[in-house]
């Protein structure tokens, strides 16, 4: 059963430096690292000590609040450093990799015949569980809850984000195994959304409910798709899995190995030759960034896309969930009468002496400048133009700011994740940190209600 859904509200941000569709192998990374901050609300409890040898798939730590959620090593090697920050919170776990990966064998399972309970145990033990996220609260799924449905977005619309049709090429077997396994874990359907009129690696899969979406960003955000297909109500839970993570789950089911091979896009106007690389979760980004080369020294490296990614340094590692590394120029410079001059080189949703509306196909070279100072919320009605959910964005943000739990709940906080507010944040005239406001709001609700 396939439906066509057209998203009308939104904004495509076209940037220079899109990754060319050629695939290179990144050199083997010397070290691999896991940053627990990628796993929101998880407090890690280490299982092994510095100096211990691990195989790919050996447990590194588990969640303090839910011990069955385990996090495993993406490679085989030696645990060299557990870096701690303020209040002794673990900030980074570094593994020095062996030349060759040795994989722990979790055994091959047949997702069609295995019971849901065993499948769940299999995913938990093998370290694949953290790839499953849940809404409400946008966090790693609680294994004790059976979700009403599972949502997977089969295409990206975020600026410079990896093209899933390219990165998932030839992975149909893994995808099929993963969605079949996931379909056992829910009472409802596994909803997969793909772009209308475009062939997708998902198109031929069984055990899924396929939907066609068209329209501008955020049509490819899973939050938009949930809102259009089957929104989360109070008391309900849905799971979401990123398409690139399905490959790892599928590989586990087929081969019994926790294999974190991943095709990532290296993109952005500061990259000399933006293209795709074969690498692994947690690899040093310098392995492929140096291979492509940077055309601009004063650049920002982002693990993830430019709207939702994490700022990293060249010594850092690929984030756990990311399949894009973006590099754009830093914007730490002044601009003479920048607020009054006509603007041709930046994107704007308005026509306030800004001319991006005249060139809808033009690609822009945006930097990290905020283009203005932080202010109180003033303008109204502009967020709604880029926000396709049936939620009042300004009002829910204000409810979060004043910590009004009743209003947050009533206005639809269970349905949203920070990434849903990345576009409203982009166009915000008052330069308010929308994603941070929503994240803090969700955390507050989780603490008080969830």
């Amino acid at each position: 059963m396939s439906k066509d859904i057209k998203i009308r509200k939104g904004l495509n941000i076209r940037l220079k430096g899109e990754a060319e569709k050629t695939l290179s192998n990144a050199p083997r990374s010397r070290t691999f690292a896991i940053r627990p901050e990628d796993f929101h609300l998880i407090i890690p409890k280490m299982v092994i000590k510095e100096g211990a040898k691990v195989e790919a798939g050996d447990i590194l730590f588990y969640s303090k609040s839910q011990e069955e959620i385990k996090f495993v090593s993406p490679v085989s090697g030696t645990l060299t450093e557990i870096e701690r920050g303020a209040k002794r919170v673990i900030t980074k776990i570094t593994i020095e990799a062996d030349r060759q990966d040795m994989y722990k064998d979790f055994g091959i399972v047949d997702p069609d015949t295995t019971s849901p309970g065993d499948l769940k145990k299999h995913l938990l033990n093998s370290g694949c569980w953290p790839f499953i996220k849940q809404r409400p609260y946008d966090m790693i799924a609680n294994p004790d809850i059976v979700p009403k449905a599972i949502f997977i977005s089969g295409f990206n619309t975020a600026p410079l984000a990896a093209d899933l049709d390219f990165t998932l090429q030839g992975k149909e077997k893994q995808l099929q195994a993963a969605v079949t396994a996931l379909s056992k874990l829910t009472d409802g359907a596994v909803h997969v959304s793909v772009r209308t009129g475009q062939g997708s690696p998902f198109s031929g899969l069984k055990d899924i409910s396929l939907h066609n979406f068209s329209g501008p960003h955020p049509a490819g955000n899973v939050g938009t798709q949930i809102a259009k297909l089957d929104p989360v109500n109070k008391g309900e839970t849905v799971w979401t899995v990123a398409a690139q993570d399905l490959v790892i789950i599928g590989e586990l089911i087929i081969s019994g190995k926790f294999n974190t091979d991943r095709v990532i896009a290296l993109a952005g106007s500061s990259v000399k030759t933006p293209k795709y690389y074969n690498t692994k979760i947690g690899a040093e980004v310098s392995t492929f960034v140096n291979d492509s080369g940077l055309s601009e020294d004063n650049s920002r490296l982002i693990s993830g896309d430019v709207l939702t990614g994490t700022k990293i340094s060249p010594k850092d590692h690929l984030g756990y969930y990311d399949n894009t590394v973006s590099v754009i120029p830093e914007g730490d410079d002044y601009e003479f009468f920048g607020w009054a001059m006509p603007v041709f080189k930046k994107i704007s949703p308005s026509r306030a002496l800004t001319f991006s509306w005249m060139f809808p196909k033009k690609k822009y070279d945006l930097n990290t400048n905020t283009n203005g100072e932080h202010r109180a919320f003033v303008l109204t009605g502009n967020y709604e133009e880029v926000f396709p959910m049936d939620i009042y964005p300004l009002q829910i943000l204000k409810a979060c700011l004043v910590k009004d739990l009743d209003a947050m709940e009533a206005l639809g906080m269970y349905e949203v994740a920070p990434e849903d507010f990345s576009l409203t944040e982009f166009i915000c005239v008052s330069k308010q940190p929308h994603q941070q406001i929503i994240r803090e709001g969700l955390d507050l609700m989780y603490k008080e209600i969830g």
């Binding site: 941000i13 800004t354 100072e373 639809g412």
Partner: protein, 401 residues
């Protein structure tokens, strides 16, 4: 070392100091700051609040320039020194004499409005340690355009201080206020010094001084004469062009219309509010015209002249058009939901015309209508939100049945 670097060093030096907000306000006026994103998305769109406010000021400038010429024109016309203008580009109107007299009268209003208002804003920014916000840039331009030409400067000073402090800063500054600050300033003048805000002596420069003299001049506004049961005695096109007495910048419906279209085109002003206010005013005008044609009200009634005014002419006289385009659309004090904006706008149109007709003493209703709807805007939004909340609650119920 260029100005950019010198200012950057000064900024670093004064960071965290008491006077930093005042310095930063001037610095960011000269240079778009060097701030980079540090949470959430890494890129931002080009628009900021300064750019937004700048667009509104650009939309107001034609009204200001026209107001300057009109001040001189009305003065010399009342004295009988010049002929009435014919056509929008008439040389009788766009003359050097008109401009110099008008500039002499209007620019002090602008200076006082900006000087006093920004002074209060800077003071509050320094005391509270936050950046100077841009809201007053528009308010400061609106104020001289909505007061009578001969308003004493000390009155304006008092009113601006009152409006900025009570209308805005006590609520927390730009973005937090309930009432439109420019209208708060006008309302203060209106109730504190009514003789300077109404009647037939304040709308034409020099009329007040001439009282009791043999060559006394008067300049009644159209609304004023209608309220007294007289006809308005102006050509429709004169009213549309704005060659009529009134507050400094509100007379030219033509330029206000162009300004409104500019605001809609740039997506800064809400077309929903503008359109619905116009519809509300036209609708109410039609109802009153209907009352007259049904002969429920006779010619002796004191409401007759204003009720009998053709419904669409309400948009040409008084400050209705100016209020709809530049004041009702203030995003902070208007309804903040798109549905709410329709209700808010229609009510402003309806109330403006209603107050006009039924309040012959102070026939301009748009100021009070907007202020009243400012107060009701949060309530309108509340019910719009309730609709969304109920829809969400219903979704659960459908599921559980």
């Amino acid at each position: 070392m260029g100005l950019k670097h010198k200012l950057h060093r000064l900024k670093e030096k004064y960071k965290g100091k008491k006077m930093a907000p005042a310095f930063n306000a001037l610095h960011t006026f000269l240079y778009l700051p060097n701030l980079t994103t540090h949470s959430g998305g890494h890129i931002r769109a080009a628009d900021d609040l300064k750019r937004t406010m700048n667009i509104v000021i650009m939309a107001l400038l034609p009204c200001l320039i026209f107001g300057i010429y009109n001040a001189g024109y009305q003065h010399y016309l009342a004295l009988g020194d010049i002929q009435a203008a014919t056509g929008f580009f008439s040389p009788e109107f766009w003359s050097m004499e008109n401009f110099s007299l008008g500039a002499w009268k209007v620019l002090p209003l602008v200076l006082i409005s900006y000087g006093v208002g920004l002074g209060v804003e800077f003071l509050f920014a320094v005391i509270k340690g936050h950046e100077v916000e841009e809201g007053y840039l528009v308010t400061g331009m609106l104020v001289p355009l909505i007061v009578p030409i001969d308003i004493p400067l000390w009155m304006l000073t008092v009113a601006v201080i009152f409006g900025v402090v009570i209308g805005k800063e006590v609520f927390g500054g730009t973005g937090m206020n309930i009432l439109n600050p420019a209208l708060t300033i006008r309302a203060f003048l209106f109730f504190a010094y009514p003789t300077w805000m109404s009647g037939d002596k304040v709308w034409v420069s020099g009329a007040v001084e001439s009282i009791g003299q043999p060559d006394a001049i008067s300049g009644e506004t159209i609304l004023g004469s209608l309220a007294q049961g007289n006809s308005f005695g102006y050509d429709i096109m004169d009213m549309f062009y704005g060659f009529i007495p009134g507050s400094v910048g509100e007379t030219s419906t033509l330029l206000i219309l162009l300004g409104g279209l500019f605001l809609i085109f740039t997506k800064i002003g809400s077309w929903r509010i503008m359109l619905s206010s116009v519809l509300g005013a036209l609708g109410m005008g039609l109802i009153f015209n209907g009352v007259i044609s049904a002969e429920w009200i006779g010619e002796n009634s004191k409401f007759f002249s204003l009720m009998n005014t053709e419904f669409w002419q309400h948009l040409l006289i008084g400050g209705l058009a100016f209020g709809i385009v530049y004041m009702a659309t203030d995003p902070v004090t208007a309804s903040q939901t798109n549905k709410g904006k329709w209700i808010y706008g229609i009510m402003i149109g309806v109330l403006s015309v209603t107050i006009r007709v039924f309040n012959p003493a102070y026939p301009e209703g748009v100021m009070l209508a907007i202020l009243l709807m400012n107060v009701f805007a949060p309530t309108i939004d509340h019910y719009v939100l309730q609709g969304n909340i109920k829809k969400r609650a219903k979704r659960i119920k459908v599921k559980t049945i």
